[in-house]
Symmetry: C2
Subunit: 512 residues, 2 copies
């Protein structure tokens, strides 16, 4: 238990200052403060000593140097149970500082406002983190408060202990203080990486904000939480039970595809992080039914992402099947009223999310693999028609749509498409041939009548004829695939022999 | 271009100090230094001013306060082109400090040595990061050096510019400085999270060390790098070409399974991050052949992880097929000589890696999902035999082996096993029934003779009879699955009707 006699207050965010001052006064805690905070305290009519008066040194360099003074830091860092430390304080006419209430220049906010580089740099706080780090190191004797969110806890603590704080509390505040300084410098560090165009520095820190602790991870025996890598997630749950880990994972898988489709167009159904139906038809009812038709059985309990605002009529259709989550770029009120009748459904508004927000890293063992996302727009120059038979513009559109779904399906991936809707998706197989068979099976099972005019995409080249052969035998008339196999020529020959359209893609699209 | 007249040096790591001192002397740069570094500089016979002499204040509190002095920080932080700043420096008898060479108390190393908490806390550097952050903020005028690795660059820079540094160089050093301070506080912050048992703090920073930049990501149009979340990766490439992103990803997938098997036992073959054959037989030749037999076609170009030291005889066998990577707990010399004849093969020694190193997070859009890994050991109490027919000890072992492979296979996952070796693996399907079919197809295609006595695992419950029915029809005699379906009773009834052994698992094992 440590009695607090003197507090140093230096705040950028001055919210709820008065509340805390009242409690400090109640326990006769003396205050030292800096510039703007000092003025605010005086305005609120609490007694306070200005820091330059306290140190005997004037604030200089436009405020760059005010708290960086031995008297302050010795006051924070001295060990109270160390006689030598005590003697040195007395000798230098220094005094103990028992409570440090500091928050930093708003560097992250400044970045959001996109001010000039020099303004951004000026918002790198030097004195604040130094005081906080010193106090956090010396938590055995000193209490450090780094956010107005902690005021209630501090007040409770002081009231409970009549002006003292407990070690456990100080240690917790110290933990949060280092969380704060690490996060702060991580944001600065990432800013410098960005302006220096250095995505992969030697030492990298990834700053994350807790969105919520989840009930559990992929399975109930795993603990889990979801963090944001920027201020907020940009997806907004507007109805339903708490999201689970698997919900989040599926939502992101669904949105990755849905946000890659034409603006305000397209429906994606996802199960176990793989698409089980995608359609890019403009009419929302047709689009949904076409996506569903690809595998109406697997769709049960899945997640639907609508890249448009859901209208009443579609809401009625969606209500007929059990989905865990429905995502849309907004919901009409009438649609919302219908969907809110479903007890176990969760509704997500994702209209503010865009695919440039994509991050891509995965961690295994004590490593993390970081990569830029596969969101490069398809360009004409990335493709080459290599068969004698040429695709019509409509066939080409279907091929590109198929390849786009393919790149967001787990490898090996084969996607069969007709009329901008998937007929079969083969995913997650060690063998490309098996993925072909799975995709064909889906088509033959649920929409065998649609094989005529259907096209297929492969996320990587066919290493042998057998894959494309199987597709052609199933009635596929056009195939798009990355090139690069030593058997590319054989594949082209096969396409010509069977009058199949064959398009080569410059880019491979593995996803694991 | 900024001329350097005065440098402040304060080092924990004093490597290569002499080299840098020589260059500083060459350009008549005056030195200020602290405690141990000062002594070292004097020992090396270079002129230098001790910091307390420079500031006029003695070092106090056992070194906790020595550089935290206005004269130091004003000297670092003053803007050289600001007349007011210049006037204030003169008025206070402060001088400009143009170069800061500082590295920190070795907090991370101290953690490794597992010293006492108070020793660890004492290794939180306060003065060092303050000087570095101040200098990095003022990089427009000041050069900051935070690692002996940067000495060569600094020397080149000074020689090139006759004792001055260029803005571009200073900005780069500033970037690296913030990288250092962010990383440093992130390690401290994670330490506090750990001792306070707080895995999910409000603000979390993930500290990572660059292992290597990769040629590209999952695909050539994506940039990528691999980082370690601790000092090193604990896997050691001993032969072959540079690893690719997909190699790393497959290596970790393979090791996750391989390290979950019995000590020094078991072979895993992985393709596209999914297992395509696993065997836990003690004899290494038999184990490898059994793993390979599950899908010898998909194994081509895959990754083999041997949870044992590879002997000569196995090396000969492994040489017969093209694998991208072979991982083992060491290689006998004779084995190494054989394997090193393969030009495109990479060899990895993973004997120092263990599964407690598992981290688990994935990032999507601007979020990151963090969870504890699914490495809970199977315990007797997690399982319940629910069928009339009971498994023999051997059948139970096969069931648990199947479930273990299942939990590291992408969902929906079905794994068929006989004699501690996989016969069929169905992975990555939105439909559990489809995963059953894929697993059965593999068995029937490559080892139809082994169906007798085979058992199967499912990573989650069967929502309908059809899945287990398909397995039983294919000859499977025992099934293990998590419970929890509203149709559990029907499933049990079906098992009893068909004289099938059925074991329920308390834990589900999704993996996406």
């Amino acid at each position: 238990m440590k009695k607090i006699k003197k507090a140093l207050i230096s705040l950028s965010n001055k919210n709820n200052l008065k509340i805390i001052l009242k409690t400090l006064k109640k326990y006769k805690i003396k205050l030292i403060s800096t510039g703007g905070t000092y003025k605010e305290i005086k305005k609120l009519k609490f007694p306070c000593t200005e820091i330059s008066q306290y140190t005997g040194s004037p604030e200089i360099l436009d405020g760059r140097v005010k708290t960086l003074h031995s008297k302050i830091h010795a006051g924070i860092l001295s060990k109270r149970n160390n006689k030598l430390h005590q003697k040195q304080l007395i000798k230098n006419n220094f005094n103990e500082i028992d409570l440090v209430i500091v928050n930093f220049y708003p560097f992250e906010k400044t970045l959001e406002y996109k001010k000039s580089h020099s303004k951004i740099i000026e918002n790198i706080d030097i004195g604040g983190p130094t005081m906080v780090r010193a106090a956090a190191k010396n938590y055995n004797d000193v209490t450090v408060i780094t956010s107005p969110n902690q005021y209630v806890e501090l007040i409770d603590q002081l009231n409970l202990n009549k002006g003292s704080t407990q070690l456990e509390f100080r240690q917790k505040m110290s933990e949060e203080a280092f969380s704060e300084t690490a996060y702060y410098d991580s944001i600065i560090s990432n800013y410098f990486n960005q302006i220096n165009k250095n995505p992969f520095p030697q030492k990298k820190t990834i700053p994350a904000n807790l969105i919520e602790k989840l009930r559990y991870g992929e399975n109930p025996h795993q603990i889990s939480a979801v963090y944001s890598l920027k201020g907020k997630l940009n997806i907004n749950q507007i109805y339903g039970k708490k999201l689970s880990y698997n919900n989040y994972n599926d939502i992101f898988a669904a949105l990755t595809i849905s946000k890659s489709l034409k603006k305000n167009t397209g429906t994606v159904i996802v199960k176990h992080a793989n698409p089980c139906g995608v359609s890019e038809i403009k009419d929302q009812i047709k689009s949904y039914h076409s996506a569903l038709a690809c595998d109406p059985i697997s769709a049960f309990g899945g997640i639907v992402a609508c890249n448009y605002k859901i209208k009443k009529k579609l809401a009625n259709e969606l209500s007929k099947i059990f989905f865990e989550v429905i995502i849309a770029n907004g919901f009409e009120n009438a649609a919302l009223n219908i969907l809110k009748k479903k007890k176990n459904l969760r509704l997500i508004d994702a209209k503010n999310l865009n695919k440039t927000n994509l991050k891509n890293f995965v961690s295994n063992f004590n490593s993390v693999l970081i990569q830029s996302p596969d969101i490069k727009k398809f360009e004409k120059k990335d493709f080459k028609i290599v068969s004698k038979k040429k695709p019509s513009p409509q066939q080409m559109q279907n091929l590109l749509f198929a390849l786009n779904v393919c790149r967001y399906t787990k490898s090996n991936a084969i996607v069969i498409v007709n009329n901008k809707s998937t007929l079969g998706i083969g995913s997650g197989q060690p063998s490309r041939l098996d993925s072909c068979k799975i995709a064909i099976d889906k088509m033959n099972r649920f929409q065998p009548e649609k094989f005529l005019g259907s096209v297929a995409a492969s996320d990587a080249f066919f290493p042998f004829i057998d894959g494309i052969e199987t597709l052609v035998q199933a009635g596929i008339s056009a195939v798009i695939q990355p090139y690069g196999s030593i058997r590319d020529k054989e594949i082209i020959r096969f396409a010509n022999q069977t009058n199949t359209i064959l398009v080569f893609s410059k880019n491979r699209h593995f996803k694991h």
